[in-house]
């Protein structure tokens, strides 16, 4: 374990923001919705990726919010955009065209192949509990050069079998994704509140990259609903820097809408 004094105190969601930001490169075209992805993108823009461009399906290119909104449809989210256009212009002529570098996706469930359910889950009584639906998530997952999924790390969320494969990852693994004709390269990272995952693209399967500070191997094992190899030497996720924590708290999410303690 890292000594407490080396890093500032941080919340789990702040760590998830920082992990998300580190995955982004300058100049990339990024689809990022509300919440942790939006803050991660803003953090990347304020640190190492000032020319990263955010796209939004409602018809936005490169907005620069000065207040956090309640959603994609909130004009707070549209402030100082370079383009106001349409769903077809953004999700079609940028997304379907294959120009999106990174798409952030939320999920109700994911499986070991990075397939993503954002539609519905099973209730305890066996019935279906419907959520809002994926919207453009399937379009992003189908076409983006890479996707980063954010999900709470629980055994009922990281599952062996999805209730609904809304947005395919590597489907059944191997080269199933390519054979299905999906143009995008598929999922590249999964960020949970316990760990960071990547994908072994030769077998199309999830692989542990690091475990967050303070989380034990056993925590990860019991919170993962599919079989997961935890190599003994798996590293700890690097903590946020003082400056990253300061930016998040003072400038990017001052009301702690998305980055307070879970």
């Amino acid at each position: 374990m890292r000594a407490q004094t080396e890093a500032p105190e941080f919340t789990t969601s702040e760590l998830m923001v920082v992990v998300g930001a580190r995955e982004l490169k300058d100049g990339q075209l990024v689809f990022a919705g509300l919440g942790i992805p939006q803050i991660a993108v803003a953090l990347a823009q304020r640190t190492h990726a000032p020319r990263l461009i955010v796209l939004n399906e409602i018809g936005l290119v490169d907005p620069h919010q000065i207040e956090l909104g309640v959603g994609n449809a909130d004009p707070r989210h549209w402030y100082r955009a370079a383009v106001f256009s349409s769903f077809l212009d953004i999700v079609g002529m940028v997304g379907h065209r294959g120009l999106v570098d990174v798409g952030f996706l939320g999920a109700l469930e994911i499986d070991e192949f990075g397939n993503n359910n954002s539609s519905e889950v099973q209730r305890d009584d066996g019935g279906i509990r419907r959520f809002g639906g994926g919207g453009g998530a399937n379009d992003i997952a189908s076409h983006a050069k890479s996707t980063i999924m954010i999900i709470r790390h629980e055994a009922r969320k990281l599952v062996e079998r999805l209730v609904h494969n809304t947005s395919p990852g590597f489907l059944t693994g191997g080269d199933a994704r390519r054979r299905a004709g999906l143009p995008g390269r598929g999922p590249s990272r999964v960020i949970t509140d316990k760990a960071l995952f990547t994908f072994d693209t030769t077998v199309g399967r999830i692989k542990l990259l690091s475990i967050h500070p303070g989380i034990t191997h056993e925590d990860v094992r019991v919170s993962t609903g599919f079989p997961l190899e935890i190599p003994p030497g798996v590293p700890e996720t690097g903590p946020p820097t003082q400056e990253e924590v300061r930016l998040i708290r003072e400038e990017l999410d001052p009301t702690r809408m998305y980055t307070s303690a879970i």
């Binding site: 959603g71 999700v91 399937n138 189908s142 494969n165």
Partner: protein
């Protein structure tokens, strides 16, 4: 609201009409393309009027459904949904839509949102379908093919490249209602801010109803014609009604009303609650002006007015 403003009386080619007249252009069993995206620019007053007039067996479509769809489903007017998703942003989910889906009281033709936009685009262009590479390998496609829309999707191999393709069928709604900031009496309609799929949906539809916050002269439209999303010649009816998207937002006009959205989300939690909401805010007030009184009147509306610089 009954009469339209007198300054437009006698305008040649005027399509101005009352909300009641416009709602009567939607018939039982029609397919209605909606205007909103989550909690922005929803056709709320128009939906209220459809509920008051007791329309039945509607099909609703949108890339992302909002509160207008939730009200129409909650009031029992809807038999089919064609959509990619829907919510009230952070205020909550579309509880009436989700409940109807769970209980099987609506048929949910559930696509990726781009597939819905492509279906409108094909309809607008007058071509029979659009090929796409979204939805390949997904349960979206499996359910559409097997359960909800076997006549509206197909898979094929591209005759040019050999790639797998999904074909989505053209969609021609009977009516599209579009909530806009400015329109003239002929129906030239200008949208400020992002337009999501409003343009394609309107151009796909047989009949277009424009609901405008403000009526302007054609001279005003002609000063910034680049803002005109729907040309007047495609429009069948124009309703001018301020705050007609409340409690959703209209960019550069007014913000969403979070007190009222919270109240709605609390009510919509149960079927009984949403019935109570419809009684209290739609049937009892009886028209849009009385509704605006009930949600707080001029004091509330003044509070919601958009800042000129921010646009919200």
């Amino acid at each position: 609201m009954t009469a339209h403003p007198s300054r437009t009386d006698g305008v040649a080619g005027s399509k101005l009409m009352t909300l009641a007249e416009a709602a009567a252009m939607v018939h039982d069993g029609d397919h209605l393309a909606l205007s909103g995206f989550a909690c922005a620019r929803n056709a709320i007053a128009f939906s209220h009027e459809l509920i008051r007039q007791g329309r039945r067996n509607l099909t609703l479509s949108a890339c992302i459904l909002g509160m207008d769809a939730d009200l129409l489903v909650g009031a029992g007017l809807v038999q089919r949904l064609i959509y990619g998703g829907g919510s009230l942003d952070r205020f909550g989910s579309l509880q009436c839509v989700n409940r109807a889906y769970e209980q099987g009281t609506v048929v949910a033709e559930y696509y990726s949102s781009l597939a819905v936009a492509f279906r409108y685009l094909a309809g607008a262009l007058g071509i029979p379908f659009m090929p796409m590479k979204s939805m390949l390998g997904s349960d979206l496609l499996a359910r559409l093919k097997e359960e909800t829309a076997p006549d509206n999707v197909l898979e094929m191999t591209c005759p040019f490249t050999g790639d797998p393709l999904v074909l989505v069928r053209a969609m021609v709604p009977d009516v599209a209602v579009v909530q806009v900031q400015l329109a003239d009496a002929e129906g030239n309609a200008q949208i400020l801010g992002p337009r999501w799929e409003n343009g394609e949906a309107a151009k796909a539809a047989q009949r277009v109803i424009v609901v405008a916050e403000e009526l302007v002269s054609t001279d005003v439209i002609r000063q910034q014609p680049e803002l005109t999303v729907i040309p007047g010649f495609r429009v069948s009816g124009v309703v001018v009604l301020p705050y007609s998207a409340h409690p959703t937002s209209v960019y550069r006009c007014y913000d969403h009303d979070h007190d009222h959205l919270r109240l709605y989300v609390a009510k919509a939690r149960t079927e009984e609650g949403v019935r109570g909401y419809i009684e209290e805010f739609i049937r009892e007030p009886g028209d849009h002006v009385a509704y605006l009184q009930r949600i707080g009147g001029i004091a509330k509306l003044a509070e919601l007015r958009a800042d000129r610089v921010l646009g919200y």
